[in-house]
Amino acid sequence: MTLTDSHPVLTDGSRLIAEACVRARADAYVGYPITPASLIFFYASRRFPVALPAPDEITALQWMAGLSAAGYLPVSATSFPGFALMVESVNMAYMMELPMLLILVQRLGPATGTATAGAQGDLLLLNGLVSGGYPLPVLCISDLEDCWLLPPVALQMAVDLRTPVVLLTSKEMVMTQESFDLARLPEITPVRRTFYHGPGPYCTYNPGDDLVPPFLPVGNDRHQVRLNASTHDRCGIIQHTSDEAMANTRRLQAKVEARTPLLYHLDEQEDARMLVVTYGITSGAAREAIMTLRAQGVPVSLLIARTLLPIPAVYLEIMDRYPRVVIAEENYQGQLAHLLFGRRLPSHIRTVTAIGRMIRPDEIIRSL
């Protein structure tokens, strides 16, 4: 559907995410019910070419890995309690280098926490999720337009990097309904994907001159494919700690570091000496805060991070330009601040945090 005229609707982010995934050519959704990700499951079950209800979270990830190995581009959405059970399988898919998209809808923890309350509490969980500290690419949705724009980017990343990619969001982003003009949505370019067409033997993990090996599905009629979750050489044969295997393992980090796209929104104002840094659901409060300040004649800049992991160094460079920086996020610790600065926060950095509710614009304004 191409909408050229205004087409106002009341919609939630879940609908846009599911539709954007399918238009980008994601073709299998494996889901199971968990609040607040169930709305994505609902839409995906109506829309994906193949939609499978899994009996549990581990099975969901294993089915996704199997479908991915067979050439599908699978998607699932979950929240922490389910995601926790998926972690070993996410590591498996990462090691096997299987493209897939995981949408993590944050809710209030720890543990079961409050299923129907939003949060931004899982960033530090994602940082270090892969054993050995290898980076898992994480993008973060900050508004309804991102619900449309980021799934195709994340899916293309998953294919280009041959890796699971996490799209981070939260309850209020995917469940709150907002007036929105569908005509604002640009056309989605389907994911570009090619399979290995070269001569045999095909070595599953031979990157050639690149960091990412070409992909070929298992079950194909041309070349043998070996996938392996254990330490392996270029051909997928299990190894202890051979030089070739260690080089392969190091490559996992190198490809993600080198090829994760840098996505952020930077709205800098001339003469501004203050910068608000945020991501996800708190972006809305940050936007309103800077609109209020600017209306009062106070120059202020805004950085909304969309690429969260691996954490881009450019965020530090941008922050270095400002004598006063506020990092706003809906968790107790200030997880992005912790990720950037560890336990010693520089004196010009302040944090605004909250749990159990959204951060308000006036809190950001006061902190500046």
């Binding site: 559907m1 909408l3 087409h7 106002p8 609707v9 009341l10 609908r15 539709e19 299998a28 839409y43 109506r46 829309r47 070419p49 499978l52 009996p55 549990d56 581990i58 099975t59 294993q62 089915w63 890995a65 199997g66 479908l67 991915s68 190995a69 067979a70 599908y72 070993e88 399988s89 498996m92 409050t114 129907t116 209020e172 469940m175 709150t176 309904q177 907002e178 007036s179 569908l182 949505l185 298992v218 079950g219 194909n220 043998q224 494919v225 070996r226 996938l227 392996n228 979750a229 254990s230 044969i237 299990i238 972006s283 809305g284 409060a285 309103e288 609109m291 509710r357 959204m358 308000r360």
Partner: protein
Amino acid sequence: MSRFLVKSELPYCKGCGHHLVVRNTVKALEALGASPLDVVLVTDIGCHGIVDGNFATHTVHGLHGRSVALAAGIAMGLPPEKKVIVYIGDGGATIGLQHILEAARMNVDLTVVVHNNMLYGMTGGQPSGLTPPGFRTVLTPHGYPLPHHDLPRLVLDAGAPFAARVVGLGDFSDVLRQALEREGFALVEVLEICVSYGVKMNPDLRLKELAQEAGYEPGVWTGPPRPVFRPSRRETPSLLEIPAVPAGYSSPLEGRMALILAGSAGEGVQQAAELLAQAAMAAGLYATKKGSYPVTVGVGFSTAEILLSRTPIFYHGVPQPDVMVVTSADGLANQRERIRRMTGGILWLDGSLPVPETGAEVRVADFRGRAGARNAALYALLTVLREIGVIPPEAFLETVRASPIGRHIDLSGW
């Protein structure tokens, strides 16, 4: 050497029954006339699983216990002419028992070969769910005290069309061939004794006698034929094929208004709030609607926060409402603290409710008695709109009429 192997020397201890599983698998595949690239071998963690490198088929080496679920995903993504085989041990089968039962229940097209040497061999000889009673392991030197699972019976109960158990001696390739030949889920349990840990801890036992004593009855069992689970790709309509909210009304609102509607689950609170947001859009406003409710579905509170605004809304939280509408005791209990903190604005209360402490102007109306519990939220919003005039009540009524619930409500008296 068979065309299914690239190396004939297998990575197993001398005398291990796993050798025979591989030889019989290869013989069965040859008997079927399959090509190596028509076969995907999915291996679990365990001694059996390090054999990937010997096979000329596609090979996938996964996690401990999860190989059946992984293989199910592969099988669901491949055409019927491809054969997916799982090699799993008794330890892996214990860890992933649910995956096995689920694949059997769904009748996914794969063949699971369980290498049951009655203990976790790779990790040092610990007992598994398939260790028979009396069997000695490093952790149970006086004999394992519990009964073992009967895998063929379990998968048959779950709906598998084929299950078998063989004593892992000699030629059992025909059973494997039958399993591979049949479309759908098949499980073959191969009984073995681990030469490293089983024999050491149970030097007097012989496999056949052990199987007999343990009640591990060999056999081939078939269930009634069932459709194989094989998802097919379907065409689906766009999720964006939803009607635009019609324009046609106007609103005097200049800035922003925050309204909270608090009631009980199952009384249409969220739906009423959604319709209000749509009516606001019909009147040219921006709107957001956020729901809040406990994890229970049909009981407890249900609260909706609605923002109406002349300008775009980026932050859709409601720290302090301009209007609070409470239609039930659940809603009042949930919002009591926020109502207490209100220093202005208007609080509408159903007549059945006590007036709480608040700095808001209180107005009482009969929502529940007038419209019934199920429609109290809708009626309350209409009442409020008639008084505060932020959106024409006709816009709201038209939105309700055009919605799926419009057909079921008699609005004539409203």
